[in-house]
């Protein structure tokens, strides 16, 4: 694995330099077009500054920029326990050390991506559609793939590349807009023969058109190998290649029907949602999904790197090696495990859909209230009236609020909330902010996120849940 990491570091630097050259060239091209005299130098300087600023952004907060542009929301464990647990399981299996932050994108198209710079500061994001469709084994495969990207330091490379690629596209876009709207009003300071002017226009347009293309080529050429490597790692971490294979199939089959996700992160995803056909072209960031699935299925009961390498050659008939010799060198038999037998509630698609619906509500700041008639009402967090009527049966529900604790009580908290059952519960803090408790909430107090007050949580006396019969 270390060879892969060292290689990635080298390629990251190379890519950074190549993109810098491209940006400077693009700047110079635009400069010449705007002012044939001193424009080239000025444009080059602008391009360089742009490059430095972009690199700084990429290095300091590129992951946050990407997460923001993908509309990803960070979650806590109680929001999606299954996802959180699977991420931690894969962290352990990969020996990553500290688990990545977990984000959820509220999007129906199933997909996942990872961003970040250091192994200790990385994030994985999945869509709600993914959570709804995949069972635990499949989710493990996908998260294993993303964690492998983090362990192999692919995320650093991909994040830098994605931000720079965005910058180059932006600059080229800007130029074409300028050409469209303002090109006619060029000031005629320097008199040049018509041919020269035409040549300059042509050259500038060519550079502006080719720069994003070249950047994309550079980027894509590097990223396909990484996908295979991450698949191999995922199979080894989970010891269950079939899980990832099934997940890839599900993602690919529904991605075809869905509108593509945000373009900026498209290349970072497990399966590239922006990829059009099934073919492999110079411009694909990812190898075709069906090839990845076939390789995973051809591993023949093994789950090690050697098994993946052998399967890869069987499927592609490729003569070149995919994985480094030293990765396979210490080849030992790594048998794949059988499918998980846990028929836990999370494996039940209906329960899974309900969990995801709840999660989506929480992402949108909705508070669930269970009505006696079986309907689950979701109200916005800032809902003002303290009472809400069930639309189906008409029962009035109080939007729960915290009680003032007895001043003489032994607790130090001014506020107290008595749990009514073991299920999802929501109540208001004295400041009006809505707090939520998960079934797994076990602490004795929590701190209000908006006013900072400590609220003591008192468990129900008999410890038995009433929420099922509510």
């Amino acid at each position: 694995m270390w060879e892969a990491i060292a290689g990635n570091r080298r390629r990251s630097l190379l890519l950074l330099a190549a993109m810098g050259v491209l940006l400077v060239a693009l700047g110079a091209g635009i400069g010449v077009f705007m002012d044939p005299g001193a424009g080239a130098a000025a444009g080059a300087v602008v391009g360089l500054v742009f490059f430095l600023v972009l690199s700084a952004i990429a290095l300091l907060g590129g992951d946050d920029v990407l997460l923001l542009s993908a509309d990803a929301r960070e979650i806590r464990k109680e929001d999606a326990p299954r996802l959180w647990n699977v991420v931690e399981e894969m962290t352990i299996a990969s020996g990553l050390g500290s688990p990545p932050r977990v984000f959820v994108v509220d999007r129906e198209a199933p997909n996942a991506f990872a961003v970040g710079f250091r192994r200790g500061k990385a994030s994985v994001a999945v869509t709600t559609g993914l959570l709804r469709r995949l069972d635990r084994d499949e989710l493990q495969g996908v998260i294993g793939h993303e964690v492998a990207h983090i362990v192999n330091e692919d995320v650093r490379f991909m994040t830098i590349a994605a931000v720079l690629l965005g910058g180059i596209s932006l600059l080229a876009d800007f130029f074409f807009r300028y050409l469209w709207w303002g090109g006619g009003r060029r000031r005629a300071g320097v008199r040049l023969p018509l041919q020269a002017q035409l040549l300059i226009v042509l050259g500038a347009v060519l550079v502006a058109a080719l720069a994003p293309l070249a950047a994309r080529l550079l980027y894509f050429a590097c990223s396909r190998r990484r996908e295979f490597l991450a698949d191999a790692c995922s199979a080894r971490f989970t010891r269950y290649p079939e899980g990832l294979a099934r997940a890839l199939e599900k993602i690919a089959s529904s991605a075809a029907a869905e509108p593509p996700a945000v373009r900026a992160v498209a290349a970072l995803c497990t399966v590239n949602p922006a990829a059009g056909g099934a073919g492999e072209s110079l411009f694909s960031t990812h190898p075709p999904t069906d090839v990845r699935v076939r390789v995973l299925r051809a591993m023949g009961g093994g789950a090690g790197y050697a098994d993946y390498e052998a399967a890869f050659r069987r499927v592609r008939g490729a003569r070149q090696r995919l994985l480094a010799e030293s990765l396979i060198g210490r080849a030992e038999a790594v048998p794949a495990r059988s499918a998980s037998t846990g028929e836990s509630a999370a494996e039940d698609p209906v329960a899974r859909a309900r969990d995801v619906a709840e999660l989506r509500g929480r992402l949108a700041n909705l508070v669930p209230i269970a009505c006696g008639c079986g309907l689950r009402i979701r109200i916005p967090g800032g809902f003002d009236p303290d009472r809400v009527r069930c639309p189906r049966c008409g029962t009035e529900h109080a939007v729960p609020a915290v009680d003032r604790a007895a001043a003489a009580g032994p607790s130090t908290a001014a506020l107290q909330y008595r749990r009514r059952g073991g299920g999802w519960e929501a109540f208001r803090c004295a400041c009006g902010a809505v707090q939520q408790l998960s079934p797994a909430f076990g602490a004795s107090s929590l701190v209000c996120r908006s006013c900072g007050r400590r609220i003591e949580i008192v468990a129900r006396a008999d410890g038995r849940s009433t929420s099922a019969r509510l």
């Binding site: 299954r82 699977v86 931690e88 836990s344």
Partner: protein
């Protein structure tokens, strides 16, 4: 003469650098093995912490299933006090078996299976079983890398000189392969 001296010096310096590198690699591997072991430790402890809660929840619905519940509690107590890699592997295996019996019993209580608290605990238990499996997997991978290094030629001299030994694998007798959580819900 001086050329020979320089050559000699270069060889000596190169040799020393190689030795230092090999030694550091051994240290790094041993550190990784220890980290991996402590990760297993953390996860086993996590499981031990979950069990009293689980037993309490089940008791609320099936208090008369005394024998099974006590079996779990006893197995947990033994696992907590077990010593050494082999001893602990043995005790943990018994705990897994006791938990399996408990979960089989849960099948007969639909009310319990619908309990939110129980569902949350069940997710935690499933995940903990997985984590233990993955931690063991990573530990054994690290141990294998370490042992290969300790046994293979140039480093084995260094290893015996500085007291790097082979590390024991964490193996379960019944199923050598990492089985999916043996607990059935």
């Amino acid at each position: 003469m001086s050329l020979v001296a320089i050559l000699f010096l270069a060889v000596v310096v190169g040799g020393v650098l190689l030795l230092v590198g090999a030694y550091n690699a051994l240290v790094r591997l041993r550190q990784q093995v220890r980290n991996a072991w402590s990760q297993i430790d953390v996860q086993l402890k996590r499981r031990h912490d979950l069990i009293p809660n689980l037993v309490e929840t089940v008791k609320g619905y099936a208090a008369h299933e005394r024998a099974t519940l006590e079996g779990v509690t006893r197995a947990r107590a033994q696992a907590v006090s077990a010593q050494g890699v082999e001893g602990r592997a043995q005790a943990e295996q018994e705990l897994t078996a006791a938990l399996g019996r408990l979960m089989l019993l849960v099948e007969q209580y639909p009310d319990l299976k619908a309990n939110q608290n129980f569902l949350a605990l069940q997710e935690e238990l499933t995940s903990t079983e997985n984590r233990i499996g993955f931690a063991r997997q990573f530990y054994n991978d690290s141990v294998m890398r370490m042992n290969t290094k300790v046994q293979s030629f140039p480093t084995n001299l260094l290893a015996s000189m500085f007291g790097f030994g082979e590390e024991p694998f964490f193996e379960l007798q019944e199923q050598a392969a990492r089985e999916a959580p043996a607990v059935r819900f």
